[in-house]
């Protein structure tokens, strides 16, 4: 597929036109407000759409966590203003159990899927793939646009489920049946669950449209000289992310379809031997509730890496650029990404060690799960070596990248505990798990996302984010994140279960009420700090310091060879040719050598 062909008739003409007359800058002359900002087919605009929609959901999800942390931290206090905003869900200023579970469930769903999948890989795959591989746009800009709009529809449906009379789905983001299948077992499983499934189905469609596009673009549309081994690690990571998504999201969808049948058409895929209080025995027999868990986690576990890999890729890029030093062990980094991708498909049942899984099967999953720690360890050691003897510039992006590594270590190591079934049988579904996945998947990926935003904001908007706000944002967030999640390990080591509305009746768990109050308070402060970041973001789009240097970080990759505000098509004139890998920093006494610089005759052949 040719790069010129993908832009469609209008823009393609302009580009062709330009290749003959380099001086003309006519990118925008056909574009209206609708085609430029709403139904845009420009990958950069679609990336921004994903980002801002993701930010909306991040605020919603964060706000939900503030509300349910309020219940956990202050179970005895009442907050009249809660009744003002939540109505019957907070009678007397007290969040009801039903509302609490709805908040927890929606928080999990939107953070995992809408923020850290769509908001993270949707944003940066769109923004960076064409720019870093040297393409005018995605292989199919139209499909790319559809990918965003399916995500948008998913968002609308998910948002509408919050306003349903019986409440949004409240059975946990994993949506295990029979709870999620039986409206009589939980009011949240009525209309709220139907909307939840529809939203998730639309989301899967969005993710597949996007993912296929990313894969095709990376494989087919690299510019001249951009061999696979010259790709920046961001692109490798986004490539594997897309592969994971394309292979695992359909399995989730199939699981949901069976669930729809069980819910609405009387089948028994997941249901058997059920007697619901107040309703009586159900006719279903012969189904297996565990089947859903297999289907769910066959996506659910790769999903963790769908979230994490883009962050890893961006962190590799940002660490190297700002250490002014090549990423250490490029091939090992690619190899470990590959190993993680393969192993990600073979570890799902470690979420199911206590479901009565066949012990032998369990042992295989223990082995494969702990095996995945090896490529993860390689990545960490390589990042550390990248810093060693560098000349580090602490840009806000760099700070978040370093923070990512710290959090990835902390959360990754507890994975070794939980992946070992004999320990998991003690720690499963306690706060230890909450601490583990929030640190390694939630906060770490969020840090990767922040690093990416700070680093590529100048490319997106031609302006800088305010540095000082960035520093404040980073330091308060990393301190806050550790203060929130570190002590949760201790709660887990006391066996304190997740998803409890109130611990006061439990002799074994009620000793943590002070700690819960502390965590809730810090969580609220950290949430407020994120609003500061959002303010910085939107303010800087319009009023930020303008970029004067098209390559502000002294970076090697192709996106910095485009104009400061690139139009649709990215490069004016021909797409540059690539002559080297992306990491020639500090080579032969030169500060950095962009990928477009031909290899000199006297250059040392280190790579």
């Amino acid at each position: 597929m040719s790069n010129e062909a993908v832009l469609g008739a209008h823009v393609g003409d302009v580009i062709h036109h330009e290749t003959h007359h380099d001086e003309h800058h006519e990118h925008h002359h056909h574009e209206t407000f609708i085609t430029k900002y709403v139904f845009s087919q420009d990958h950069k605009m679609i990336g921004k759409q994903f980002l801002i929609t993701g930010m909306f959901w991040a605020v919603m999800g964060g706000l939900m966590s503030v509300l349910f942390r309020l219940q956990l931290g202050y179970p005895d206090s009442s907050f009249p203003w809660l009744e003002d905003i939540l109505g019957k869900w907070a009678k007397g200023g007290h969040i009801t159990a039903e509302a609490y579970y709805a908040l927890v469930t929606t928080h999990g769903t939107v953070l995992v899927f809408f923020v850290l999948t769509a908001g993270l890989s949707g944003t940066f795959a769109n923004l960076l793939i064409p720019l870093q591989v040297g393409a005018r746009d995605m292989a199919s800009p139209f499909m790319n646009m559809l990918s965003y709009w399916f995500f948008f529809m998913a968002s609308v449906v998910m948002l509408s489920s919050i306003f349903v009379e019986t409440g949004p789905f409240s059975g946990g983001w994993t949506a295990y049946p029979p709870l999620s299948a039986l409206g009589d077992a939980s009011p949240g499983s009525k209309t709220g669950m139907d909307l939840w499934i529809i939203a998730m189905a639309l989301f899967v469609v969005s993710s597949l449209l996007g993912g296929l596009n990313y894969i095709v673009t990376i494989l087919n549309m690299r510019t001249k000289g951009m061999t696979m081994t010259r790709l920046p690690l961001t692109i490798w990571a986004l490539f594997f992310t897309a592969v994971l998504g394309v292979l695992s999201f359909p399995v989730l969808l199939s699981g949901f379809i069976l669930l729809i049948f069980d819910r609405n058409f009387g089948t028994s895929f997941y249901l058997s031997d059920i007697f619901v209080n107040g309703v009586g025995a159900l006719p279903n027999e012969g189904g297996s509730a565990i089947l859903f868990q297999h289907l769910f986690w066959f996506l659910g576990h790769p999903e963790v890496y769908i979230i994490l890999l883009p962050a890893m890729g961006m962190v590799s890029e940002i660490l190297s650029t700002n250490s002014r030093k090549p990423i250490f062990g490029y091939m090992a980094m690619v190899g470990s990404l590959f190993a993680i991708t393969i192993l990600a498909f073979l570890v799902w049942a470690h979420h199911m060690f206590v479901t009565g899984l066949n012990p032998f099967l369990g042992s295989i999953f223990v082995l494969l799960t702990l095996l995945i720690a090896v490529p993860s360890a390689i990545k960490v050691f390589n990042w550390l070596t990248t810093l060693w003897r560098g000349n580090i510039r602490f840009t806000p992006g760099m700070l978040f990248a370093i923070g990512f590594v710290s959090l990835f270590i902390s959360g990754g190591l507890t994975g070794i505990w939980l992946g070992n079934s004999a320990l998991d049988i003690h720690l499963h579904d306690t706060y230890f798990v909450v601490a583990h996945f929030h640190i390694v998947m939630g906060v770490a990926s969020m840090f990767g996302m922040f690093a990416g935003i700070y680093h590529w904001f100048p490319k997106m908007y031609g302006r800088y984010l305010n540095n000082n706000l960035g520093y404040i944002h980073f330091w308060l967030t990393i301190i806050g994140a550790y203060l929130i999640f570190w002590p949760m390990h201790y709660e887990g080591l006391a066996g304190m279960p997740r998803r409890y509305y109130d611990y006061s009746v439990w002799e074994s768990f009620k000793q943590f009420s002070d700690l819960n109050r502390f965590i809730s308070t810090v969580a609220m402060i950290v949430f407020a700090v994120q609003l500061l970041f959002l303010f910085n973001f939107f303010y800087s789009i319009f009023k930020g310091r303008k970029l004067t240097n098209p390559n502000p970080w002294g970076s090697n990759t192709l996106e910095w060879t485009t104009p400061i505000n690139p139009g649709h098509g990215n490069w004016v004139g021909e797409i540059p040719e690539v002559h080297r890998w992306a990491y020639d920093y500090g080579k032969d006494g030169k500060e950095f050598i962009p990928q477009t610089t031909p290899v000199g005759a006297d250059e040392s052949t280190h790579h």
Binding site: Y101, D273, F275, A377, I378, R389, I409, N420, N467, P497
Partner: protein, 368 residues
Amino acid sequence: MSFFFVIAVIILVFLIIFQIAKASEYVAVLKGEDRARRENNKINGFFMIGFLIAGLIGIYLCNDALVDKTLLVQKSASLQGEKVDEMLWVTLIITGVVFVITQFVLFWFAYKYQESEKRKAYFFPHNNTMEIVWTVVPAIALTVLVVIGLRNWFSFTGDAPSNAMQIEVTGKQFGWIFRYPGNDEVFGKRYFKMIDAGNNSLGLNWHDSTDLNIKDDPSTHDDIVTEQTMYIVKNKPVKLIIGSRDVVHDVGLSWFRLKMDAVPGTPTTLWFTPLYTTKEMKEQTGNPNFQYEISCDQMCGNGHYSMKGVIEVVTQAEFDEWMAKKKPAYYAAYPDKDPANIKPATPVADSTKATTTKLQIQPGDKKS
């Protein structure tokens, strides 16, 4: 009112931070980008090392404040749990060492190699020896952990000893039902469509039903059914046969360091050997209200957080005494079949008969 006050304060703080950040950006522009970067670099480099030191102190303080509230300082109340604890300490030591070293290296490097005009970054793209070392060393450490883990895993999930007491545990929204097999040591058959919320909470097949093609199973007639509290015997292995009546629940036994899901339609099992009676644990923990609690560890609906069961670990004698007082559930559903009610005409003879029946239960239990 205070709500709006808080909001106002937050906005004010925001504005102040923002103004300062903005002003210092102007200053930075005036100073020149390079100089501003150098200054920012110094401050952040200092914060890096500061964060490392404060973080390590914080970890110490956090541990100091919280460790007494966890199970780390409590002996496990089951034989299996002792293995879990051993393994937990080994894992803690290995991951703890890695944690301290890598975090130290990360922040130390960040501090040490912050930008300086005197230094040039060292071009160091790869080194195969280093790569091999840090592939092999973690692989070996992980192999050790896998071996320890799987040895325990197979011993936990293996068959229960033949002398194990068997108890059936059934979860429902939101509580637990326990069943003992009674004199005949056989759990009578049950079918979920036989469930009657009033007197047959488990759906025991104790009458014929042509609709459901069910025959009366006499071995249900002596099954003992209790709710909320389960009695087990110290030092005697107990095997739980776990199921659910509605949605997925989980039998969480934090003091025994074990748990197992309760899945409708698919029975699971879990066995363990309790080491201390509830009374002994009250003394050990110094908590007069101590209970072995069964916590539901799998999201099961809006009452999930209140789905509590209690295990009483007692001596064999106490257990026998408790069991002797239990009447089979069958008699509660069919009072006319209760031997205690069969001869109401001769009250004196009746009371003797009832006592003998009760006494007869005991020897059977001792055997089991």
